[in-house]
């Protein structure tokens, strides 16, 4: 009797599993799966980063800026309305075409500005990198010299008179 009931509930669980497997596979978003809002992004606290981490962050952000130099809007115009949608799309296309000579002037100018800005940032980044390398080498040399001085002081022994 117990074994039969177990078998029955086992089959029911198996059936329900298939149902919910299908439902979770069909879920469109992580929020839907997790059943709650999920925070996706955290602002990076740049003050907490070490020098080399900042280096990587600067490179990554410069890459993003570079990707976004061209700020012209994407040309695809669509509408989700089934009946009047095509009419809206048609009208928008006409308006966009009419305005293009004016917007193009603005966007071209903005694009040129973006290009210069990214190039300027890249140049600053390279310069900064070189300065950093130079500082690091100087620090290493200073450490070495300090070590040599300490060695010399040790070699001279305790009887060496000190200059005031």
């Amino acid at each position: 009797m117990g074994a039969t009931m177990d078998e029955q509930i086992k089959n029911e669980i198996a059936g329900l599993k298939e149902t919910y497997r299908g439902r979770k596979d069909a879920a469109a978003s992580l929020e839907e799966l997790a059943g709650k809002p999920v925070q996706d992004h955290f602002a990076v606290d740049l003050w907490q980063l070490s020098d080399s981490e900042l280096d990587g962050e600067m490179g990554k952000r410069l890459g993003f800026l570079n990707d976004d130099i061209d700020c012209r809007p994407t040309p695809a115009i669509t509408s989700h309305r089934r009946i009047i949608g095509p009419l809206i799309v048609f009208c928008k296309k006409i308006v966009f075409t009419l305005l293009r000579p004016y917007t193009n002037t603005l966007f071209d100018r903005q694009n040129r500005f973006n290009e210069q800005l990214v190039a300027f940032h890249l140049a600053s980044f390279i310069r900064f990198r070189r300065l950093e390398d130079r500082t690091r080498r100087l620090e290493q040399q200073a450490d070495e010299l300090k070590g040599q001085l300490a060695d010399l002081a040790a070699a001279q022994g305790p009887h060496t008179p000190h200059h005031e």
């Binding site: 086992k10 329900l16 919910y20 999920v38 990076v44 070490s50 981490e53 990554k60 450490d143 070590g147």
Partner: protein
Amino acid sequence: MNKIDPLSDFFFRDLGLKVRPSGADLARAVEAVAKKSGPQAAFNMLLRGEVVAGWRKPSLALYDHTLHLIGGGEKYGCTLAQALQDDFDVTLIAHQPVTTGDLMQWYDLDLSRCRVKIMPLGFFAGKSLGRIDPDLVSARTENPFLAVSRESGNYDFFVNNSMLEMVYPLANVSLFVCHFPERQKGAYFYVQHYRHLVYNSLYTATWIEKKWGISPRHHIYPPVDMEPAAGELPAKEKIILAVARFESGGSKQQLEMIAAFARLRAEAPQALGSWKLVLCGGSAAGNPYLDRIRAALAAQPTLPVQLQVNIPLSALKAWYGRAAIFWHFCGLGQSNPANVEHFGMSTVEAMQNGCLPIVFDGGGQREIVENGISGFRFASARELRAQTLRALADPGLRQRVGAAARERGAHFNRAVFAAKARGLFRELAGEYASGKPLAASEKPIASPGEPLAANGIGGE
């Protein structure tokens, strides 16, 4: 009257039942969970019910996005899989082709009860040479690891051994194994959603807390298994050994080792005598850092430095056996905590072979080498030279400290790792099968300002 069994108790605990409910009640209860917490929560409830009823052992997925590559982190995950395969139904999830046979051969493990599931990720095709590079994912892109999140929800336990914080865990029990918090909290950061966080060293734990604001609870040092069979240790020779990957960025500092060795020879030629430096490590083809090392050695042809790149395990074992002293510089002069050794498996390997370790005083090395007892730790190149000269001059010291190092190295072997891992997972599996509410991981670690229990195995 039907007696209330563990399964009914699990599904209908809140109802205070006196009789076993029917199948229709079950469907209603599960649907109520789905309505409140989504379809995944309902599915998870059914999954757990099967384990609570004792119909099967829990399933466990271990995910590693670089499982197809040989590495210390991957070895950690595979050794974990070996330790757990009798208690769990283990699946290893990878993105690029690899077989259990490959893994068994690379790490000398038995994974015969595990299976591998390959999940290709189209997002990375044609980018970064097809490499799974998490840095290509940002707030501006989709999250390609959502596919892994979805897959994680098909198992009772999900272990993320990948250090990939972009995988949201959907399994009932989830564990994030952190070898070091390399990335900042940023886009698609989900580590805080894992039920348990496992860390490989106290150094890593400190940085998890600093960078992510999460207090991890479970400490399992990596498994190191370079111990020679009893009585196999050969006589030590005048060799200073360094074993580390030839990282293209030079973080393991082999060039600095060559410079330090050259300087030692110049300053104390008699003490150095016939001592030589041997640099062993793996390298990818076309490594510019390795080219710089070769150039440095070509410029000093009389310097007794031997380069051993991508040598087989047997040859590496032989070097460990012969070398009297072991050097490890990783972390010296670094400002990025990720560039300091998070643990230091090669140091333990050397210690297990009775080498006297002289290592940089930072990161996980502090937890391995007890300064002055089982080796020496240096903070500067000057200290390194002084400690090395002391060790070169005193064979008794080398023997005494080498023996202590061997004893210390045994604390990190595979058996210790497996016992610790099994202990943790059996506890979690017992809690899971009981049907009782699952406890969250909350125990805080030592705060960064406190002295770390550097000599302890396990930080709990």
